[in-house]
Amino acid sequence: MEAILSRATPMLVPQCGQLQSRGMATLKEIRIRLKSVTNIQKITKSMKMVSAAKYARAERELKPARSYGMGAKAFYEKVEVAQDETKPNHLMVAMSSDRGLCGGIHSAVIKYIKAKMEEEGSSDDTRIIVVGDKGKAILQRTLSKNIIHSFSDYGKRPPIFADAALVANTILDTDFKYDRATLVFNTFKSVISYNTTELPLFSPSAIEGSTKFNLYDSLDEDVLRCYNEFSLASLVMFAMKEGACSEQSSRMTAMDAASKNAGEMIDKLTLTFNRTRQAVITRELIEIISGAAAL
């Protein structure tokens, strides 16, 4: 009844070009939607494959990097140097990257930094060096005046020591006179989980003031400074490797979840499409039959 009416009065309802609108999506709309979701699923599947390959490599490289990082940390643990929490000027280094679609990796690091700044209550004395555009974008919304340096073009290739050396040089050359420094990054726990952790970075004066420092023989300032600079670069390298591995694994799980969701959407849409198609055919048959019966 309604179909005949709408055909008879095309002028009054001009946008109703199709015969079966009325709140249920038309066949063409469903088909367009189905095609677009299928394309998205292809993209997320391929991204999952790519990040699975990158994750395999990052995990392989993480094994020696972990031993390297443990070795670099060992001295600071053995010499029992403590980070003086009462000193004001705090430099935080955030390790994120340029590429998104990796779950909550970047926001986890920034949330940790924000929480730490809240608990210390010192947002004026804290300065942040951020590695990676995504981290910088999140920080700029609220803490843009605390950012003193940022690194971009990071995250596409696996990290190498030269990158770590660059970051370390920036930390050492910065104008901001910090009393303590912290490195914040994600530690890889397993394929589906990571932990946001921090590493304290000590200055030569802090080491000289530690308890067991006197046990160490024949150390002049030059040697200690060189040693500390190299250790800083080593720790940054360790953080970069851990962060890269966590990011790739997180991206892999995120893209896997996205592909699964897209698959579910495709199933639901296909069912709706078939039902709509059958309804259209049934309606046309009814029209033909009623038309023929009227004759």
């Binding site: 070795g71 670099a72 060992a74 046990l215 150390l219 060189c226 190299f230 490797k241």
Partner: protein, 164 residues
Amino acid sequence: MAAAVLRQAARTSLRLQQCSRLIAASHRNYADMAFTFASPYDVYYKDAKVKQIDVPTFSGNFGILPDHVPTLAVLKPGVINVTEEDGSNKKYFVSSGSVTINDDSSVQILAEEAHPVDRLDAASIRDGMSKAQQQASSAASETAKAEAQIAVECYEALQKAVDA
């Protein structure tokens, strides 16, 4: 009577304490070296037990035995010689890095680049050496000159490692 017994007991406990301290000290003399040698890309030894390590540093070349006095040092380009428990020698070329010897006799050597000496190729070392020397002579600024000089020193050390 009781006082004498008490004094005796005190003396024996003191003796026991002294003995245990001596035993502990002598155990410490034969402490195992937990040797970790790694670069960011390779780990060669992790908490391993070795007999001796010879390292080239800016404060001189020295050998590290178990229970070496705690110290820190900065590596210079050269060859690290590791004498393992069974007496075999392994040589590794390192470009730069740090050496840490802690008071519990653990040794950590972190190198920016570390490769076994048998992986080095003499021909490419000679090429690299001549190129580095060219750059050193034609360097413009102070930093460029310093960097080229570092490269030349590294290649000289590589040459020595391959020739040895």
